[in-house]
């Protein structure tokens, strides 16, 4: 019993030391990490939205959706006029989760899309991040396209040897546009 307590005390001392070291490192690095995340978010938003002169994050709203959970909508305005809304979309590709940011204009058409994070195969599926693939979605609305790859009767070019990744993006865009249509009322009146 005494030995047990002694070993316990030694372990406690070691892990207390490691906890102190870690909390110090955490407090030093946290602000830097957070600041860059915010900056990156704003950059991504400005890439997919039409020109705006407000702060889309500050004027954004969070809407709960039964399929997507809580979604943050970042609202872009120019001279008080609503120009577009940006939000994150998620889809499942070949290598797991693909995260994208979509920019939609008030008439429900896609203005811009950017892939933020993915684990697709390098050199094949990873081409979903290239503008030459993503450009084809711009200006599309939910009813103005057949949402599939050309090979199976859809409207969209696929990346060769990466049909699963291409389809995943197509599905992600479609679901994003649907989400916008469903919550259009609440977003536009904000």
């Amino acid at each position: 019993m005494r030995e047990f307590l002694k070993l316990l005390a030694i372990l406690l001392v070691f892990f207390a030391g490691s906890a102190i070291t870690l909390s110090y490192t955490y407090t030093k690095t946290k602000p830097i990490i957070e600041e860059r995340k915010q900056k990156k978010k704003l950059e991504a938003i400005s890439e997919v939205l039409p020109p705006f002169d407000n702060d889309p994050v500050k004027e954004g709203i969070v809407i709960w959706d039964e399929k997507h959970g809580n979604v943050e909508f970042y609202i872009g305005k120019k001279g008080k006029v609503f120009t577009g809304v940006a939000f994150l979309g998620e889809t499942t590709g070949y290598g797991g989760k693909v995260t994208m940011i979509l920019g939609v204009t008030p008439d429900g058409k896609l203005h811009g899309i950017k892939i933020i994070d993915h684990n697709e195969t390098i050199g094949l599926g990873s081409k979903i991040t290239e503008p030459s693939f993503l450009r084809q979605f711009n200006g599309r609305g939910i009813d103005s396209a057949k949402w599939d790859v050309k090979k199976t009767g859809g409207d969209f070019d696929e990346i060769s040897s990466a049909t699963i990744s291409s389809r995943a993006v197509i599905k992600g865009v479609r679901e994003g546009l649907e989400l916008f249509e469903k919550n259009k009322g609440r977003i536009l009146t904000n």
Binding site: L11, F14, F15, S18, T25, Y26, T121, I122
Partner: protein
Amino acid sequence: MAFFEEFSRELIKGIGKENPTIRLVIGMCPPLAISTSVLNGIGMGLAVIFVLLGSNIIISLLRRYIPSKIRLPIFIGIISTFVTITDLCIEAYFPILHKSLGIFIPLIVVNCIILARAESFASKNPVVLSIADGIGMGIGFSLALILISAVRESLGQGTFAGYSILGEKFDPALVMVMAPGAFFVVGAIIAIFNYMEMKKRWKS
């Protein structure tokens, strides 16, 4: 003088005859998983050198206060502390590297090179030698990793550290940057080094 010799012997063994990746073939997870580009290899190598050096120093300094019954939890605790520090610092200062290494930074905790050095070297030897051991093993690991990723990146993407080296006409063999390519390259490199070793033995 004798001390200096000992120091350099411990330093060099990790790079050469006890190279963890090529000779001992331990800690093979990063060489297989993240060796898709040279920059990944360098980043991972530096992270491992830092963790190995830190854990070797601390464990060697405190070796008299670590009861052998609970040495493993303490080793793992010290190692994971250094890994978390590395993870946070890379995320704060090298976000691009953090993104491409991803889960493999936290996984350094279970890299058996580090625990093996703690158990078989740092916990039995003085600090200065443990530093030499940590640096040597770390450099050996990094060099092997950089070699593997250089072969994979140049054959698989036609680039070296992001710069095109094989020209426009070169058609990259994508399989080299995918999982099977890792096994091809690691296997071939180990075979070449074994062959060289055997040739040396035949001569002598």
